[in-house]
């Protein structure tokens, strides 16, 4: 996170509103800069986005007789926002599940940070730097916002069970160190007021935000967002877009995004891959994809 989004350590639970401003200011500044930059900034970004961080080659996945994904290849470059779009049932979520090791593809190879793999347990995907949010919010409903985000730090916490049992010395220091990181994220996402609230009681929009926070707490290199704006109103979508841009530009996190709102997709993403019935039908910049006749057919239908 850039220096101006990093809060001074918030004076803990009691204070809520006090420390929101800098994060908000920086977020707005980013959005404004982006709006002003227009096409120019996109070219800048094309130069900035680096080598391929993840590549998917000829991946096929089927459940029994149902082919969810057939022979799809694409890549994600470091630092870009890559959108995956397609009509319902096109295999977008299955693709994310393959990437983070929840499904094993029958064919094909996935290369993440230069490591080739066919099968991977979710644990290794998570520890090598892939985190994600879910289409239907998958928070830990009985736990508070803070605990949900602290749970995202699990992989970074080292102290053994005996230290934790006595909650003494190193175990406490570790806990506090991670709390600080989480507090910065809480400030960034502007959810200070719900720190101690069990997430099951929160409205949907806030749950989505907490889930994003939980994924960010893992400090991922590749963040998979599965419909982050589903079911949100315009204002919430704008907030979420702002968060996504800030995460991408200031934290340098690579983002793969599934979204149905075409306005959001075309504005946010650097490159778009389009799936239909498990096949890739287009791949390119938003402008290229928008003009592609196959994509138009897939979305609007074809007359026979």
């Amino acid at each position: 996170m850039s220096s101006n989004t990093v809060m001074p350590v918030a004076p803990a639970a009691g204070s809520t509103a006090a420390s929101t401003q800098p994060a908000e200011a920086s977020g707005l500044a980013v959005a404004a800069a982006r709006a002003a930059g227009g096409a120019g900034s996109r070219e800048d970004r094309a130069r900035r986005t680096g080598e391929v961080i993840l590549s998917v080659e000829n991946v096929s996945l089927s459940f029994g007789g149902v082919r969810a994904i057939s022979d799809v290849s694409f890549d994600i470059r470091k630092g870009e926002i890559r959108a995956i779009i397609g009509p319902n049932g096109a295999g977008k979520t299955s693709m994310l599940n393959v990437i983070n090791g929840f499904y094993f593809p029958q064919q094909g190879v996935i290369t993440f940070k230069g490591e080739k793999r066919r099968e991977m347990r979710p644990y290794f995907a998570a520890s090598s730097g892939i985190s994600r949010t879910f289409q239907n919010v998958a928070l830990f409903k009985g736990m508070s916002t803070l605990d949900n985000m602290m749970a995202g730090r699990t992989l970074k916490m080292q102290r053994g069970i005996l230290w934790q049992a006595l909650r003494f010395g190193p175990a406490v220091n570790e806990e506090m160190r991670h709390r600080e990181v989480v507090e910065k994220l809480i400030d960034f996402l502007e959810i200070q007021h719900i720190r101690k609230v069990p997430v099951g009681k929160l409205p949907y929009g806030l749950q989505k935000r907490v889930e994003l926070g939980r994924a960010l707490a893992m400090e991922p290199e590749l963040l998979l967002l599965d419909e982050p704006m589903a079911g949100m109103n315009l204002e919430e979508k704008e907030d979420m877009s702002r968060f996504i841009i800030t995460i991408n530009q200031h934290l340098g996190t690579t983002i793969a995004l599934i979204e149905h709102d075409m306005g959001v997709v075309m504005d946010l993403s650097d490159r778009v891959v389009v799936l239909e019935y498990g096949r890739k039908i287009a791949d390119g910049t938003p402008d290229q994809v928008k003009a592609d006749p196959k994509v138009i057919d897939a979305y609007l239908g074809v007359s026979h």
Binding site: A13, M150, G152, L166
Partner: protein
């Protein structure tokens, strides 16, 4: 008015993440501990009613403490990690019998008789190991199916301790008696001594449990309970999280079993740890509150007190009831109370307490 957090500012995260962030809560807990460790022995010494009565210590406080510890163990597994277990009685039995074996020595493997304290703890360790073994199915099966798998543990160990004579040192009756409770030269014998001995165990392990459930490992347990797929995709290994919950839970239940046998019963047979005990513990955590350490104590207190209450009250009122009627009535009232509670407050007494606290914070001006 008294229960206010106004003016209590926290300036560090450690103060904010303390076990009891509110000063009033800390004072209350401190007072309770002082009363339990100092007050009750003094009152008992000077025979102040009702503490002068040996019955209260021996038949109410002692089982309350030990079963609270067992309930904490069960709550870690069921309430925090979401793995239903019906084998808690078996794990108590393992703790008890293995502590007995360590306490009386195992000449077959050249192990001399150990002192009481290590015996009890090693009993817990054995229980933890077996708990992990029986927890392995939880990696594959969930919910009711897991409950049935743990039920197998219950029946297997009932059988084992009844049939395999090695565990009872070849006692012809199958009944065994605990070795002398000698802790560094302090012979734990009087009811008040037994009470203090158990109290020390329970307080220590209650703090340990509380620390675990609010630390990183506790968050892993709860994550597995609430949404195991998301937890797995975040790098929480179900293998480690579930088995550690089984280990910690079985350890505490095992220690409670050893205390139950050594300190409360003195002499026992396998029947003391039957399926009834498992169900009793299950009711305790459900009624007390799943996922709450305080709830374990409340549940244990409730389950123990209700039968005593039902026994005492009619006779005090002078209602001439036969013993049989009383015991039948006990079942009826007990059963309907549980149904009533589960319908009215499925989250148990612990939830009622937290609701009361929330109300009390605003009292008497609820705005």
């Amino acid at each position: 008015m008294l229960y206010r957090e106004t003016g209590q500012f926290k300036t560090t995260y450690s103060a904010d993440m303390a076990m009891l962030p509110l000063r009033q809560d800390r004072i209350a807990l401190g007072a309770l501990l002082v009363f339990a460790f100092v007050g009750i022995p003094l009152l008992a010494h000077f025979a102040v009613w009702p503490f002068g009565n040996e019955y209260l210590l021996r038949a109410i406080l002692l089982p309350f403490l030990i079963l609270s510890l067992a309930a904490i163990g069960v709550n870690i597994l069921i309430g925090y990690c979401g793995q239903i277990s019906l084998g808690s009685g078996a794990f108590m039995a393992i703790g008890a019998y293995m502590a007995y074996k360590f306490g009386t020595g195992m000449p077959e493997i050249g192990l001399p008789a150990l002192p009481v304290l290590p015996s009890i703890l090693l009993g817990g360790v054995c229980s933890a190991i077996v708990g992990v073994l029986f927890g392995i199915p939880s990696l594959r099966i969930k919910g009711l199916y897991l409950a049935v798998a743990t039920l197998a543990a219950q029946f297997f160990f009932d059988w084992l301790f009844l049939r395999v004579k090695w565990f009872t040192n070849y006692a012809p009756s199958g009944s065994v008696s605990a070795p002398e409770l000698n802790v560094f030269g302090w012979v734990v014998d009087e009811p008040i001594e037994r009470y203090l001995f158990c109290l020390a165990f329970v307080v220590f392990f209650a703090f340990v449990a509380k620390n675990l459930v609010r630390g990183a490992i506790g968050r892993q347990w709860m994550a597995i309970r609430d949404m195991d797929i998301a937890a797995e995709l975040m790098g929480i290994r179900p293998f480690f999280a579930k088995l550690s919950a089984f280990a910690v839970s079985s350890f505490m239940v095992g220690v409670a079993g050893a205390l139950w046998a050594f300190v409360y019963l003195g002499a026992w047979e396998p029947l003391a740890f039957s399926i009834d005990r498992s169900l009793q513990l299950l009711f305790m955590v459900i009624i007390g509150g799943l996922g709450s350490i305080l709830g374990s104590f409340l549940g244990a207190g409730f389950i123990l007190m209700v039968p005593i209450f039902l026994n005492v009250v009619p006779s005090e009122l002078g209602v001439p009831l036969s013993t049989e009627t009383i015991s039948h009535l006990e079942f009826i009232i007990f059963g309907s109370l549980i149904c009533f509670l589960l319908i009215k407050e499925p989250h148990g007494f612990a939830r009622l307490v937290s609701l009361a606290k929330e109300k009390l914070r605003l009292w008497p001006f609820p705005y």
